[in-house]
Point group: C2
Amino acid sequence: MEPRKKFQRQGEEARREQLIQAALEAIAEGGFPQATVREIALRAGVTQGLIRHYFASKEELTREAYRSFMTEMIAKGLGAIPAELTDPAARLACFIAATLRPPVMTHRQVTLWTAFIHRTRSHPDLAEIHNETYVAYRSTIQALLERMPGTETRSGARALAIALNGLIDGLWLEGATEENKFDPEEIVDIALMAAGRIVEVDLLSHKPAPADASRHDRKGPP
Amino acid sequence: MEPRKKFQRQGEEARREQLIQAALEAIAEGGFPQATVREIALRAGVTQGLIRHYFASKEELTREAYRSFMTEMIAKGLGAIPAELTDPAARLACFIAATLRPPVMTHRQVTLWTAFIHRTRSHPDLAEIHNETYVAYRSTIQALLERMPGTETRSGARALAIALNGLIDGLWLEGATEENKFDPEEIVDIALMAAGRIVEVDLLSHKPAPADASRHDRKGPP
DNA sequence: TCAGCAATTATGCAAGTGTATAATTTGGCG
DNA sequence: CGCCAAATTATACACTTGCATAATTGCTGA
């Protein structure tokens, strides 16, 4: 008879986070149907009973994973705007570029998004999370627009924010779909060109330089 | 003992179409997980064995449903452009407006799209269908652009087509998500404004009148 | 050190899934 | 009419799923 599996105890917080990450990994790699309780447990290196111990149901784990995913993604986009940058156009350009580059525009991210967005349609609790994060996202854009020329009226700002939001979302979706192999920076250039024309301000001249990929895996100088 | 169910024979073509429509209905209403073989059969008014008789597997039914759905949706958008319309700007405006109005921009359509797009990530055969239809869609836009000013160079036309495609897709997705209750025509106006600025041509003046809803359910005059 | 409790594993179960196969009915054709 | 292939129904099966519950183990505090 095989011996019982050895294990280490972990704090509640760490385990929950670990299970959430394992769930996201499973969904990203195999799609939602493959992300069974057993598969998630396997990836987390635990047995399936533990999931039930920390989450009342698989639905609850799904909810938390969705919230974690969306929150983190928005933070990544906003975090790319340097605090010391004051020019509204430059800030907007920064946000757009960050949204259309890794780690936000990624095959994995889009896959996860598509997985959740469908569930959103039949699960009101997921729809609520979608709403919260979506509103936060669009008001972010609107805030970036507010100090720019041509946005004197509220209705004007609203329309521009909706248009920009659509453009960015659409390009994000398009750009991370594996088959349309775009040059990494092409989507950013197109987005800045188009967004600039929509708000009638030159954004391309404020394009931030892409992160240097050669330094990506390094923590310090060689 | 209950008597065996009575049935009528139908031609192969009719049955296949019927099953495909039932599958789409099931997916649209209950999401992909609810669209089981039994559920689809129930909606089609047949027993589950029949599905297997016409489709080698559920996967095959899914494929055909996806293809049918996408083909029909593209046709709806293109079909809205009157043949006698020659002005390129007017034709583009027509296409955009049709894409952002019913029956293309609809909660049901977006729900179906989200259902399939996720499956696309793990099923190469579905990804292939996605690609086919997607390429057709974007080259449609590019064709509409080709005779417009500012698209002299190929690269210019390509960039504009990508931008426009992103804008339209993003607004389509946004506009049919139930929570953001937009005024029906608001999205169209915003799209024409933004697209017009991107291609630097006035599109709003070419906006086609919305279909008269009051005549919708009528076949003829009262 | 050791008892006790929470964390974790192990096992089982009922429901639902896609699919295979056998049994019937239908409609057309001689 | 009567027959036969094809269409359709009915039944069964093996498998997976989420969840519940019992059995163990690791850790901590006295």
